[in-house]
């Protein structure tokens, strides 16, 4: 599967005076739990140990967020915060995968990290061409029905 990077709005700064936008490896996914589903853009994050979504997404999917197994994680500022895990379905292109996704109030937008997502694919990020290539690992998943 091939995707284009997404350009997001950005403002100039002292360090980047000409900046008007930032290209990020973002792909369209559908997050599904039972009969609820949301189609959204999510960031491929090779620096994330696992998938992490805003708690509001889980709530909209009908999950009782704090009933899930708990973990602690931290962002770049080093402050720990709680994450609650639930198994949901992620649909990417023609494929659907089951993924353990962490949900946290502190997470600003959906991140597709290693456990649950990147581990199931061979991923190629080509920034110069602004292209993303995802190939399912042979032992993973099945075509979407």
């Amino acid at each position: 599967m091939k995707f284009d990077y997404v350009d997001w709005p950005a403002s100039p700064s002292e360090a980047f005076p000409g900046r008007k936008k930032i290209s990020r490896p973002t792909i369209r996914i559908t997050a599904q739990f039972e009969k609820e589903s949301y189609e959204m853009l999510a960031l491929l994050d090779s620096g994330a140990d696992y998938c992490l979504f805003p708690a509001s997404i889980g709530e909209e999917l009908g999950l009782d967020i704090q009933s899930g197994p708990k973990d602690w994680t931290q962002g770049s500022d080093g402050r720990p915060f709680q994450v609650y895990f639930h198994e949901i379905t992620l649909i990417v292109g023609r494929y659907r995968i089951n993924a353990g996704v962490g949900f946290a109030e502190e997470c600003p937008w959906p991140l597709l990290g290693h456990a649950g997502f990147l581990e199931q694919f061979e991923v190629r990020l080509n920034f110069s061409r602004k292209r993303i290539e995802l190939k399912l690992s042979p032992s993973r998943s099945r075509p979407k029905k």
Partner: protein, 65 residues
């Protein structure tokens, strides 16, 4: 290239419902639920939801969002 930089400008820190082809903003709100409901009311049955980062600068995950 999927350039959303202009249509999302000024919508920082909001949930935005895009049209299914991702060409235009259908609705924006502070919550995911509100953004989707607004989009459905406007006739977009399959919106694509995006959360626009709070600051229009570089991004690394921190718990300041």
């Amino acid at each position: 290239m999927n350039d959303l930089s202009e249509i999302l400008r000024g919508l920082e820190n909001q949930w935005v419902a895009l049209s299914h082809d991702e060409k235009k903003v259908v609705a924006a709100a502070l919550s995911l639920h509100q953004a989707k409901q607004k989009a459905l009311k406007k006739g977009e049955r399959h919106p694509v939801l995006v959360k626009v980062p709070a600051k229009s600068g570089g991004y690394v995950l921190s718990n300041r969002g």
